[in-house]
Amino acid sequence: MPRQITYRDALREAFDEELARDPMVVLMGEEVAQYNGAYKVTKGLWEKWGDKRIVDTPISEAGFIGMGIGASMLGVRPVMELMFWSFYTVAWDQIINNAGMVRYMSGGKINCPIVIRGPANGGTGVGATHSHTPENIMASFPGMKVVCPSNARDAKGLMKTAIRDNDPVMFMESTALYGELWEVPSNDEVPGGELIIPFGVADIKRAGTDLTLIAHGRAVITCLKAAEMLEAEHGIKAEVIDLRTIRPLDEDTILESVAKTHRAIYVEEGKPFCGVGAQIAYTIQNKVFDELDAPVQRVCSLDAPAIYSPPLEKIQLPYPEVIVAKALSIC
């Protein structure tokens, strides 16, 4: 029976392997070392790799992320944890104006091989300020790369690619997935001896002919549940596409699918206005207008700041029944 590990452990394997491969790789963040990480994603790494490679920082996101960006200009490869991606708000200038633009403003003389990572999701009862989902914001800037793995296998394979990538990579995880188990091949089971998943290649998680459900991150799981319901209860065969990376974006896979199904819904846990789904919907109608039998639809977080109250927070985020209803409205 194939090996199953959690999303959390898959990330840790990626760190451990990359720390071993490249002495320039260093993990930094609040509580990532001695505390083993607020969500235990870096558990055991400090004990194994020590103070130089696994670094605890003060609560100074702008300071330590800017420091990592500066160090990356000298060839260090910092993998920096935001305990919550929500905290990018205090480091935003360093992230976008320095990591995101220094290459361009220097005429290509500089590049910043950094990874900024952490959970970017709502649904955990921590309120509006701790529930940011900034993938649309990050991806709106040329120069940035945005990765949102939906499962443990992708989390490992994409993290290894992120650490080796020579551009700034914004890597968005989910506290709701950290503890979930998935099949993840061990290195001896994969060709080349390690699991690497390239950026810009979407994954068709389920084939279908009647409708295309497109999503990233945890929303992919929600789509797969909805697809099962659609087939079982309504005989509708939905294709489910996991973007994996939002920038670079695998547009071809999306457009080919819609050309086949003629119907599309984008599902995301972010807010609707200028969300990732808005961009994808624009592209679909713009590129395969004549293939569409119905307008592109979206299912997003309900358009208000993240609410605390547990039962309401649950319905503020996309869930399968909403996707099914939306699908029935166009099928």
């Binding site: 921590v126 609707p272 997003c300 609410i307």
Partner: protein
């Protein structure tokens, strides 16, 4: 942390403490035990899965919120971080609205929309309850700015942790406070740790964290928070500086958190502090016990009378949990309320154009 401090001197005869009636002194005790009882109950129900998210408990630090806030008058304001239950009860919020908020109920102080980290009571000059570390420090400055702008004689007490001093906004706030002569009092509740990181591992300093204020020519003081008499005596100086000179102060008050950073940390993960250290603080520096000793020594109350206060507090807490349990959750429609003032108040502006984009 408290251990770094000499045992607090006797400040009972400071004028501000001389003013205290026996009843006042009993009330101070009552407030501390109410906070402790409230949090013990909330912990029970958190473990019982009655709430989500984080629960940052204040147990061990009660004397700081109770002592400082007991000095405030009608134009004095309070703002703090996410460890906000103690301050909320100290400003006079009810256990019911606070407990119901934890349960995510419509009867909560924030209608169940904010949760543990986001208590608010503007009617009691209490401005939260903020989750982003040090994010409240410019807001506290703004409260002081507002007081001065309106020509009111008041002070804004802005609480922050020992880990929060390393956020840039705090320093920008100090410069502005000194430059604009604003009546703000920053109170660093130094419990020795930011999550699992000791002060030594998070902050560079000379004699202490508050000393950073001197670079902005701001008055500062470091003292132990275990004895309410001392907390009141020393904090009063800063409040008078705010009231009479409209000048800021930075106070660093040594205290100690008994429980984990949040309940998730109940095991003090990674052994960042020892069982012995915790037990020593509980045995020797419990602010409730210290105050109790004062009351008994002064003959203000008997053991029995104090036990009665404990019992009442516990009963009140249990009733607040009942209240929370029996309260309704907010209605789904309420998700779209409290986003825009103009929409909530059905003004022309609130009716003009589309504000929400659900489809």
């Amino acid at each position: 942390m408290a251990t770094a401090i000499a045992p607090s001197a006797k400040h009972a005869d400071a004028p501000i403490n001389q003013k205290l009636t026996p009843q006042d002194k009993l009330d101070l005790h009552r407030q501390m035990v109410r906070i402790r009882a409230f949090e013990q109950l909330s912990l029970q129900h958190y473990v019982g899965n009655k709430m989500a998210g984080f629960l940052h408990l204040y147990i061990g630090q009660e004397s700081v919120a109770v002592g400082t806030i007991s000095l405030l008058g009608k134009n004095d304001h309070v703002i703090t971080a996410y460890r906000d239950h103690g301050h909320a009860l100290a400003v006079g919020m009810s256990m019911n609205e606070c407990m119901a908020e934890l349960f995510g109920k419509a009867t909560g102080c924030s209608k169940g929309k904010g949760g543990s980290m986001h208590y608010f009571a503007p009617d009691k000059n209490y401005w939260g309850g903020h989750g982003i570390v040090a994010g409240q420090t410019p807001l506290g400055l703004g409260l002081a700015y507002g007081l001065k702008y309106k020509g009111l004689k008041g002070a804004a007490l802005c609480f922050l942790g020992d880990g929060a001093v390393n956020q840039g906004t705090f320093h920008e706030s100090l410069n502005l406070a000194a430059l604009f002569n604003l009546p703000v009092v920053y109170i660093i509740e130094n419990n020795g740790y930011s999550m699992g990181t000791s002060q030594e591992r998070s902050s560079a300093f000379k004699s202490c964290l508050a000393e950073r204020a001197s670079g902005y020519d701001i008055e500062w003081e470091l003292f132990s928070g275990e004895d309410i008499y001392e907390v009141r005596a020393r904090t009063q100086v800063a409040i008078e500086r705010a009231h009479n000179e409209s000048r800021p102060t930075v106070l660093e008050i040594a205290t100690y958190r008994w429980l984990g950073h949040s309940v998730a940390d109940s095991s003090h993960s990674g052994g960042y502090r020892t069982k012995e250290e915790i037990e020593r603080h509980q045995a020797e520096h419990d602010p409730v016990e210290v105050w109790k000793r004062n009351l008994l020594a002064e003959g203000i109350a008997t053991e029995a009378e104090l036990k009665k206060i404990d019992k009442e507090a516990f009963t009140e807490a249990e009733e607040s949990a009942e209240f929370a349990k029996n309260s309704p959750y907010p209605e789904p429609e309420s998700i779209f309320e409290d986003v825009y003032w103009e929409v909530d108040n059905k003004t022309d502006s609130g009716r003009s154009g589309r504000h929400f984009f659900n489809d």
